[in-house]
């Protein structure tokens, strides 16, 4: 995905850690901002349609697993980004109205030429036009580009989020080298603030960030899982990168390696056919204000947002000195799922009396601090 030039400049021109922290905060916001659209996709797939009576996953089940697996990795990336922020002595800011995008809206960094992300039910169109667009890999990561940028040489190539992450990695190396030369380090954060929940993530994916090596490894993992390698759709753990993982839903078949073919992979695996009759028809780009005051529809929309905001508060606390709070946050994530279900089970009752569409109450992911 292309990003706006100014953000790259912010990294390249940074001369202190304090210059870098706002970029890391934006990375945290970006990793979070993809989660609401993905969760709308995941939550709208009705659980009863995910397995056959024999317990085999259906097309809906495979699609749900695909989306869920990406959401889990985005949560991992958010954790890594928060650990980086803490390692650099910063404070991740999660519990604030400005943390939450106003959907339909742009992603942080003006990603994809300010393309608008919509909250919609799961469909092939939504996966193709929104999910894949969010995860679209661009050109291979080009180190010479960074050097030319730093030297103030004009460049033709599009700047991508992958490039920004690598620029960030490079800048950390530069700043740390400067600090080391003075017998100091830029990794001054309190190690007790690192969140390393080995109960939820594998040790190959999450570690405490305490120095340049662990920081760069974290950034590399985010890029690898998101964009994959430059040569094939699988990341270094042989999982399809997010873009190709989503493409399976659009192609209608699972991606599989075919070592004897050229290219050595194809969408030739198990069928992934969405059964749209078993997907909640959610109000598109919902807002609490869409629903009539005093109705259960309005209540459930508000309740969902209140639970979502509670979860942000829990995560904020977790990443600001209470790492054990991650378990409470996990409880909050399951509650969010039940709350989504209760909203989606409720027929939308419109505030606009002229509206007569039959839709289900939507998941609007608004920042709501009062359960009204």
């Amino acid at each position: 995905m292309k990003i706006a030039r100014q953000h790259m400049d912010q990294v390249i021109q940074a001369t202190t850690v304090a210059d870098i922290l706002p970029v890391v905060q934006k990375v945290i916001e970006l990793e979070h901002a993809t989660i609401p659209p993905y969760l709308c996709g995941y939550f709208t797939i009705q659980q009863a349609s995910t397995k056959t009576t024999e317990g085999k996953p259906t097309g809906n089940g495979l699609a749900a697993d695909i989306i869920r697996s990406v959401v889990v990795e985005e949560m991992l990336h958010l954790t890594i980004a928060c650990n980086l922020m803490n390692a650099l002595g910063g404070n991740p800011s999660i519990d604030s109205p400005s943390f939450v995008p106003d959907y339909p809206g742009e992603l942080p960094f003006g990603i994809g030429d300010h393309f608008l992300v919509h909250l919609r039910s799961c469909s092939v169109a939504q996966v193709r036009d929104v999910f894949m667009k969010i995860e679209e890999p661009e050109h291979p990561i080009d180190v010479p580009v960074l050097e030319r940028l730093a030297a103030g040489i004009a460049i033709e190539e599009d700047l991508t989020i992958g490039t920004l992450y690598m620029a960030l990695s490079k800048k950390l190396k530069e700043l740390e080298a400067q600090a080391q030369a003075q017998g100091k380090t830029i990794f001054t954060g309190d190690g007790a603030r690192q969140v390393v929940p080995l109960q939820w993530f594998d040790a190959s994916e999450i570690w405490a960030i305490k120095d340049l090596k662990s920081a760069q490894a974290g950034i590399a993992l985010i890029v690898d899982q998101g964009e994959g390698t430059t040569t094939d759709p699988f990341d270094t753990s042989d999982q399809p990168a997010h873009y190709y993982r989503f493409e399976q839903i659009v192609e209608g078949k699972m991606l599989e390696p075919r070592p004897d073919d050229d290219p050595p992979y194809a969408f030739s695996g198990e069928a992934v056919a969405l059964d749209t009759s078993k997907i909640y028809d959610m109000d598109e780009n919902p807002k609490i204000a869409h629903y009539k005051e005093g109705t259960y529809s309005r209540r459930m929309a508000t309740q969902f947002c209140y639970n979502y905001t509670k979860l942000l508060r829990s995560l904020h606390d977790t990443f600001n000195g209470n790492p054990a709070g991650i378990d409470r946050s996990m409880g909050g994530m399951y509650e969010l799922r039940f709350s989504a279900l209760q909203a989606l089970e409720t027929k939308a009752e419109w505030a606009d009396a002229s509206k007569s569409d039959i839709k289900q109450t939507g998941l609007s992911f608004e920042y709501v601090t009062v359960n009204s």
Binding site: M330, F338, V370
Partner: protein, 656 residues
């Protein structure tokens, strides 16, 4: 000092008790006869899974707002910035849970894991943890369906920077700082309707060190019946702080079907000048005689008349949470120290009729930790002290004896809503509670100390599973003050025990060991089994080993505790954790045992010569039954069973 004295914060709004109702019928616990239709909502002809089978167990507060922050009598609440604050639940944790003790004990529903947060939406002013507490004093009999009191204390108080702007919050902080860092709180929910939502009022006030956690040990005004067209006010409390007597009408005032206060005449606060006579306290001939009874007509010189109760004003319930204040002058303060508090109706130019008055002799005793989840080991005892607070005229009193009596199997259907099966009753039989009686020991009599506290030691042995398909056993005991003619206890004042079943499992246990009770949860909570994953599927259980280990090892008062119903014995929860540990790569956490370390031996004193507590009469209960609404929502079916069987019991002369 308590939640309804000054200083206090009064609020109102709404709640949702999103309970699952499949477990409302104990017979649904029987896996062998469980039918898939029990997970469906009830229809006109079939009860199925009752009215909300997909419930989550969540208890939510919404639209709750402080409408009256009162720092002192006569202060203007509009000038206090705490007026207008929102009363939020949780803030950063999962929703609090509302939980019955057992399918055969549905009159002590308890809130677990509630955090109360006062906020303007941006800044938190005060937050505190609500100590798990069961509702009390379910009131019925008026046109509006039942209400109840959820009284408790707030602990772990955190004061926001802006709290200093509020005189009421600062007065409460001063009180909390001097009193164990606690505040007193009450929530009065009124019956819920569609979507399990209903209105609620409540208040927060000062707590005094030495007070109980789950009720206010102050002045109880007794009425054996709930409020109704014929009975102006039901059982209620009055309490004094800062030279002001406050009455809590929230659960006691008569309401029409629109939740509007029904006029009951011109009502005044009052102190009865003719005192009661109390003789022989601490002896077997202790006795009390009322100076003036309910209904007595008195002249102005017989009473110390206090302020008129302005209950007719708009906002009495929604703004003031149904609380009325009467300042006490020096004469009143002296008189109230040993004379009954009352409410009187003005019926003539100098004539007043008592519509409700304080307990006989001002004596009041109530159990604090009256609901007990007890986990005996395979062999040996689980013990607990049920703590009673005894007061006279609102002050602790020594040498008052309380007697208890274990109830029998005739109570089996009192605490749940059986008997409304429709044409297709579940096939399982239900089994008696309170048996075998030898598994439980409850002290038959005990006496208060100088601080008013009295301890009732109880113990249980492993009950096994006398009810065959549902864990453990329920035991109930009644109690009363052993003073002749002392007022009858409040309805539902009981000692309640859930004796959980101990089992020896291999470590690790087999799936067959734990499958039966996980199947039960799968049947009873379709929100999980239909919409998330099946708890009765070994593969799924294994795949979620880490998540389930977390949930099954949470303390009881953690909102994420599993099972949400908090009814699984410790040995069974430990078996689940041991099974899961095979797949988490971590040692199994130790399941928390929810019991005290009470070591007091249960002694049975000879109570044969003690005076019997005042017998309850069936008259009030009959009136409540006659006024009970139709239908099966909420606690109505339980109330119906309770009232009809209690009336029958009283008529039989069983005055246990």
């Amino acid at each position: 000092m308590s939640y309804f004295t000054i200083p206090r914060l009064a609020f109102s709004g709404n709640f949702q008790a999103d309970v699952s109702t499949v477990n409302n019928d104990v017979r649904h616990y029987d896996n062998a006869t469980f039918e898939p239709r029990f997970q469906n909502p009830q229809t006109k002809t079939e009860m199925n899974g009752w009215y909300n089978p997909d419930g989550t167990g969540n208890f939510r507060l919404f639209g709750l707002q402080i409408h009256e922050a009162l720092s002192a009598y006569g202060a203007d609440p509009a000038q206090d910035p705490a007026t207008g604050l929102f009363v939020n639940a949780q803030a950063e944790r999962s929703s609090c849970k509302i939980v019955d003790l057992d399918p055969q004990m549905q009159v002590v529903s308890t809130l677990f894991g509630l955090r109360i947060v006062l906020t303007d939406g941006t800044n938190d002013y005060l937050s505190g943890l609500y100590t798990a507490s069961a509702f009390r004093d379910m009131a019925n009999g008026r046109a509006y369906p039942p209400s109840a009191l959820f009284m408790s204390v707030l602990t772990d108080l955190e004061w926001g920077a802006l709290a200093t702007d509020s005189p009421t919050l600062m007065a409460l902080k001063t009180a909390a700082d001097a009193n164990e860092n606690k505040l007193s709180i009450n929530l009065t929910p009124y019956a819920y309707g569609a979507n399990q939502e209903g209105p609620m009022v409540g208040s927060i006030g000062a707590y005094a060190t030495g007070d109980p956690n789950t009720f206010v040990a102050a002045r109880r005004l007794v009425n054996e019946t709930g409020p109704s067209a014929k009975v102006a006010v039901g059982d209620m409390m009055a309490d004094i702080a800062n030279d002001t007597l406050s009455y809590d009408f929230s659960n006691a005032i008569n309401l029409n079907s629109q939740l509007q206060v029904v006029p009951i005449g011109e009502i005044y606060g009052a102190i009865l000048k003719q005192g009661d006579t109390v003789t022989g306290l601490g002896t077997t001939s202790a006795s009390v005689t009322d100076g003036a009874e309910i209904g007595a007509k008195l002249s102005g010189s017989d009473i110390k008349l206090l302020d008129q109760i302005d209950y007719k004003r708009s906002g009495f319930l929604n703004v003031s949470a149904g609380i009325a204040d009467c300042p006490l002058d020096a004469n009143a303060q002296a008189l109230i120290a040993d004379h009954p508090v009352a409410l009187v109706e003005k019926i003539g130019s100098d004539q007043y009729q008592i519509i409700i008055r304080e307990t006989s002799g001002g004596l009041y005793a109530r159990a604090d930790n009256f609901v007990n989840r007890m986990d005996p080991p395979m062999k040996g005892l689980a013990t607990e002290d049920v703590r009673f607070k005894v007061t006279q005229w609102g002050k602790p009193i020594a040498d008052v004896t309380i007697v208890t009596s274990l109830l029998g199997t005739d109570m089996t259907n009192q605490y749940w809503g059986s008997g409304n099966d429709g044409p297709n009753a579940p096939k399982a039989k239900y089994h008696d509670i309170n048996t075998p009686p030898k598994k439980v020991k409850i002290s038959s009599g005990f006496t208060s100390g100088a601080d008013g506290w009295a301890s009732c030691p109880i113990s249980v042995e492993n009950p096994g599973n006398p009810r065959v398909y549902v864990d453990g056993q329920i035991y109930t005991a009644t109690y009363g003050i052993a003073v002749g003619n002392a007022s009858a206890k409040a309805q539902f004042d009981l000692i309640v025990i859930h004796a959980r079943e101990a089992q020896d499992y291999a470590n690790p246990p087999s799936w067959d060991d734990i499958k039966p009770f996980m199947q039960q949860y799968d049947n009873l909570y379709p929100i999980m089994s239909r919409h998330l994953f099946s708890l009765a599927d070994e593969t799924v259980f294994r795949e979620h080993a880490t998540l389930l280990t977390l949930a099954f090892s949470r303390p009881l008062d953690d909102p994420n505790h599993m099972p949400a119903t908090r009814d699984l014995s410790t040995s069974k929860r430990q078996a689940v954790l041991n099974w899961l540990a095979q797949y988490t790569g971590q040692p199994a956490p130790v399941a928390e045992v929810p019991q005290s370390n009470a070591q007091v031996a249960v002694t049975s004193v000879d109570t044969s010569n003690l005076p019997k507590p005042h017998p309850a009469t069936s008259k009030g209960l009959e009136m409540m039954l006659a006024n009970l609404e139709d239908g099966d929502r909420g606690k109505t079916p339980v109330m119906r069973n309770y009232l009809s069987s209690e009336i029958e019991r009283i008529k039989k002369g069983d005055q246990a």
